[in-house]
Structures are given as C-alpha cells and as structure tokens.
Amino acid sequence: VVTEPTDAEPASRRRLLSAAGAGLAGAAATLLVTGCGQAAKPLPEQKLSPTSPAASADIDVLNHLLDLEHVAISAYTAGTPLLVPDVTKAGSLFLNDELGHAGQLIGLIKQAGGLPNKPAPSYDLGHPQTSKDVLELLHELERQQLAAYLEAIPQLAPGMVRQQVVAVMANDAQHVSVLRASLGLSPVPSALVTGRE
C-alpha cells in the first residue's frame, strides 16, 4: 500500500518512518478484512524524542485524536486504490503520514501511562465509487482531524507535548491543501485554519 518515495532528501527521512510504517501498513490493511472476523493488529509505537510525558488527564484527549487517525488510516488504505493515477502517489504518501501520526499519539499515550485505543473492527466510510468521491471523503476526514486537533492542543500539557501534536496538525493541514487542489478548490482557503473551511 505504501509507495516508497524516490526523491533523495525527503525520502531519506521518510524511509525511517517507513521502516516503522511497514508494520503499521500491515495493520491498516488488516482493517479491511477485520469485518470478516479477524482481530486487528495493534499499531506499533512511534519512536519519540525524549520529552516530558503528557499529563494523565490528557490521555482521553489523545485517544480521541488517535481514534480519528485510525479512521483516516482505514480511509486512505481503502480509498487510495480508487484514486486516479495523478493523485495515487499522494494517497500513499499521506497514508504513510497518518501511520506516523498514529504511532506518535500511541507513544504519547503510553508515556502518560495510558492505554492507546485500538482500531475498530471496521469503519463505515460510505460507498465512494470514483476518485472524486474518495478525495471528498478524505478531505472531510482531514477537516475533522484539524478541528479536533485545534480543540485538543490548548488542553494539552506540558508544552513539549503540544509541540508534538501541533506538528501533526500542521501536516494534516498540508494534506488538506493537496486534497483541495485535487478537487479544484482553493488550497489555502483561510488565513486561520479551523477545519471548517
């Protein structure tokens, strides 16, 4: 599912993620078959730089964000094959990003002494038939993520945890720009990102 990028510099760091993401991609793919009764594999923990752990009160907040990442992973996994060739590579790339985000959140939750939520056995993603349908679905899910991250970040402590989470939010905002451009929409619709635009 995950396409290995070919460009030199960005790819070098991406490969580091892919090493961890290879197992994650397998777990994501499992989401598609768990509806037949198989158990989903847990997502491995992302390697984190040393930091102060999140407050235990933030575990629920982080798990809510993780739930949304699980949905996005399943949508990119199921939807990317339906994308037209021009944007298939973006779908694969963004799936890899979402896997990294989930791993990051799992790490933060565990550092805070919490138990990360596992993916649901299946998700109702509707019935997208075309590349445009998939892009619209992904756009909607990314917007939901942005809104959730924006609500969550001011609640989190300490500041280093906020930093790690805002780094994810900003990347999702970049996904939104590419998805919007692919849909023929303005890639940066607002000076202040809210997730509602």
Binding site: R162, V168, N171, Q174, S177, L192
Partner: protein
C-alpha cells in the same frame, strides 16, 4: 566570552535586532549564545516575536510581487498568501494590543528584514530577486521560519486562546509552504509534503 542564553534572551535578542527595543528589555544584553535553557519567555515576548516574523512575511511577499519575476499563473496564488500574512499580522497585533503592548502592523522595514534573514541564515535576498525560482525559494525558506516561530510559541504560550491562534497560523503557514513547494515541483507530492511532522526552522539570535 561564551554565554548561555535562555529562550527569553533568544527572543529578546531577536526582537532587538529587528528594532524592537521596547520588547527587548534587559535580556537583550545577552551576547553570544550557544545553547538555551528552560527559562520561559513571557507571552508578550512570544507574541512580539510572532508579530515580527509575520511582518517580515508581509515584506517578503510584497517584495516578491513587486519584483515582476512571477509568471502570471503564479501571481494570484502569491497574492492570496500575502493577504493571509496581512491577516496574521492583524490577529497577532490585536492580541498584543489587548495585553497593553505596542504592536506595529506595517510591514517590517527592509533593513530589519534583511538582518533577520542573515541572522537566521535564510538563503535568498529581499532586494535581489532575479527570477521566479529565486522568489519561490525565498518564500519557502521564510515559511519554514514562520512555522518554526509558531512551533516554539506553542510550547511557551499558556493562554489557551493564544495557543489556538498560534496553531491556526502555523497550520496556514504549512499550507503556504506546500503550495509554494508544489509550484516549484509540479506533481511531486513528496516535495510538497515531505515530512509527517511539521516543525519549521528555529529562529536564532542575531550575532549568536
């Protein structure tokens, strides 16, 4: 003499270099910096640095548009992003004003802008923009700097509404980065969204 600066001193020094003595205070007296410690800058200091960077962005976008180097198809995109930067200045300035601090809203003056570029080792010039490639590279590099300022601010701010504002602006700057890099590298998504985590580039103290 080697000195260690706190984050407060780093910010104050940067502001002093940009001509903001009112914000610099005694911490600006710090000389050489090599490392930072955990002393947290005040929210007004953080906001003042955010404002300085956003005013630099306005200056840079205007210089790029005035250079006449952009293809007609690219100009509208850059114009939209300039408008966003102007809105960022207004939003941050309003918060500073509410805290009783001076908050200039015009673009940064050229000399201060060039100094900030040099201090932060940003390749490109505000005065010598020879072609579209130069122009886009300058803006991409500055967007990285803007991302970095907000990434740092998210850690130091404590008021929820200010944290939220900084996250909103940082995400917008990340989108700008992606659009500009996308123009530079059409169809190469890995160049437009190269990392799963956006951190930008750190702002360094002048003379550090």
């Amino acid at each position: 003499m080697k000195a260690t600066a706190t984050r407060r001193e780093v910010i104050a020094g940067s502001l002093a270099a940009a001509g903001f003595a009112a914000f610099a205070g005694p911490a600006a007296a710090a000389t050489t910096t090599t490392t930072t410690t955990a002393s947290v800058p005040s929210e007004t200091e953080v906001l003042a640095l955010m404002l300085t960077l956003e005013r630099l962005m306005v200056l840079a976008y205007r210089r790029v548009l005035a250079s006449g180097t952009l293809e007609p198809s690219v100009q509208p995109t850059v114009t939209v992003q300039l408008d966003h930067e102007v809105q960022h200045v207004a939003a941050v300035a309003a918060r500073l004003t509410a805290l009783g601090q001076p908050a200039p809203t015009g673009q940064l003056d050229l000399a201060s802008g060039q100094a900030l570029l040099a201090h932060n080792k940003v390749s490109g010039s505000l005065t010598h923009i020879s072609d579209q490639r130069d122009a886009l590279r300058l803006l991409v590099n500055l967007e990285s700097l803007a991302e970095g300022v907000h990434y740092a601010a998210i850690m130091d701010l404590s008021t929820p509404s200010l944290i939220r504002l900084s996250a909103q602006i940082m995400s917008c700057e990340a989108q700008h980065w992606t659009v500009l890099s996308g123009i530079q590298h059409p169809g190469q998504y890995v160049k437009a969204v190269p990392w799963p985590f956006v951190q930008g580039n750190h702002v360094t103290i002048p003379g550090g």
